[in-house]
Symmetry: C2
């Protein structure tokens, strides 16, 4: 969709949190990042080279990526002169903000005049097909969760990186804007029209080598009343061979739904597997990924051990322990 | 969304099949239909009053409904003079065709000049909310199927009409274009953006009297790889109290998916109920609706009897037998 190397735009971020998109891109794909560009008053710093637009252009930067969110997710008027200069210097711009680059007349004009492209990654840029349900070659692994935001993206990214470290064939397949900004491509699944959801996931994970694994970023949860349809489309479009069950043990209720408590990991395994086996009878739940960020180390390790014994599956927090055991569970 | 009485536009339909949308509207809602309008060469006939635009306007028609499909689902150029005359005579126009009224410049112009509205029912006209998952008052019944196109719309329409015949409180809630054209409102669910699917179903089935039933038109199937996400959103957005299980027993494979055979009605009951109980623990599968159109009467009755015994639920073909026993299963 868009090309590295990236220049990460931190704008006038009031603090590091406002630039967490840039941080995520740099953490997961440092080799794609040529440097950062910051405006006066910016309080975020990735600890990497500061480049002017001129320097970035000279360094061969292909895309300026907006890695900052200000209040309301809008495109700052005070960013414009830098963004226009980037377009004039031969860079494309990528953004995951709610407000779209394509709705800013001055950016559209500068992009047209300079033959550049504005990538709004929240908006599908492809006319996806209706899903065919046909079996594809290659292997696929999907993260499913007891809730939204329990670490599904982190888990699949970590597994993909671990595979590559081992010299194994692997691709991370993003389905949300952060993942898309990291990888430079993907499907913004929550913005796809209902009829084409599963088809967009098929499109994202096409035929591949028999020993190649796609790591598909999960979205929502089968147990989340607002987004379960999106999760369902991932399961049926992705046709996973392997499911990773993701959970956050300290959460008291479903994200954004105070009337709902979380299901058990057993419930998730049972229902996700049953639905996945409709399209791939060989699908297995192979491992469990726990987000223990709200537990101290001894409590976390004790919990992981208990879950592993109860469920009979390798159980790790990839943030604390790395993704090695998750990847080994695939093979 | 749009108002009765309707004038059903049959255009230059080459045969009755091309006008089956008009036939459906008249079959299910004859009281909303003032008459039909046919062009020269039209070979379809609903057997109701032919009205000119002038006569229809004098009879108080509020909406001309395009009830004909020509090849490609486009709006015929030769229809235009009649459609413009309708707009000039104070009628709105409603269409479920793939090609949109709003993309026809001459119709848009005539609508603007006359203060009329063009209703393209395949396209959402509302900014739906994200689903909240909150419990609503009133009762809801959802048709779920082992496959697409097994009679879910027919079943819920027939149950709604039977309820009304008995003086009970009931509303049919359409989620597809045929249902929307019949009812004059609804949600074109397959065209809703992923994040808002469940929210659109909540919006469609709001709080109501404790003894009021919504009959929600089903879409797709949990077992259909292309559309299962849409079905999931209906189950979690609809929060049904009662499920009707729909099945077509002679189908050899899933509609459009030659690699997939149909699940059993038991499989459907098990998984649909488990998913529905996430949002409504009281949900029950109350009855079975079988589409026996491809069986002769003795074979159909024998099959219905067998299923009823095996599943322990009232089992009928509402087309052959009416919806009385389905409605009784609710109470």
């Amino acid at each position: 969709m868009f090309e590295a190397p990236y220049l990460l735009f931190l704008g006038d971020a009031p603090d590091g949190l406002a630039a967490k998109m840039a941080q995520g891109i740099y953490d997961w794909r440092p080799e794609a990042v040529a440097g950062q560009i910051r405006m006066e008053g910016c309080n975020a710093d990735l600890g990497i080279k500061d480049l002017s637009i001129k320097e970035a252009a000279a360094a061969g930067v292909k895309t300026l990526v907006i890695g900052v969110v200000n209040r309301g997710g809008v495109i700052g008027e005070n960013w414009k002169s830098i963004l226009v200069e980037a377009l004039e210097s031969g860079m494309d711009i990528a953004s995951g903000l709610h407000n779209l680059l394509r709705d800013e007349d001055d950016l559209v004009k500068a992009a047209q005049e300079n033959g550049r492209t504005l990538h709004d990654v929240r908006i599908p840029s492809v006319q996806y097909p209706i899903a065919s349900g046909k079996k594809r070659t290659g292997k696929r692994c999907l993260a499913v969760g007891t809730d939204c935001s329990v670490g599904k993206m982190y888990t699949t990214l970590a597994m993909d990186r671990e595979m590559k470290k081992r010299g194994l064939k692997s691709t991370f397949r993003p389905t949300g804007q952060t993942g898309i900004l990291i990888e430079g491509n993907g499907v913004p699944l929550d913005a796809v029209v209902a009829d084409f959801m599963a088809g967009s996931v098929e499109w994202l994970t096409p035929d591949n080598d028999p020993d190649h694994w796609d790591f598909i970023e999960g979205q929502g949860s089968l147990f989340h009343a607002s987004y379960s349809g999106v999760t369902m489309a991932l399961i049926h479009g992705g046709q996973p061979d392997a499911l990773i069950l993701c959970h956050e043990p300290t959460r008291e209720f479903m994200r954004g739904l105070p009337d709902y408590t979380l299901p058990s990991i057993e419930d998730l395994r049972e229902i996700a597997l049953k639905l996945a086996q409709i399209v791939n009878p060989e699908c297995k739940a192979v491992a469990i990924s726990i987000n223990t960020q709200h537990m101290d180390e001894p409590a976390a390790l004790k919990y992981l051990d208990e879950v592993e014994k109860k469920m009979g599956l390798p159980t790790v927090d990839p943030f604390r322990q790395g993704a090695a055991r998750l990847v080994e569970a695939l093979v």
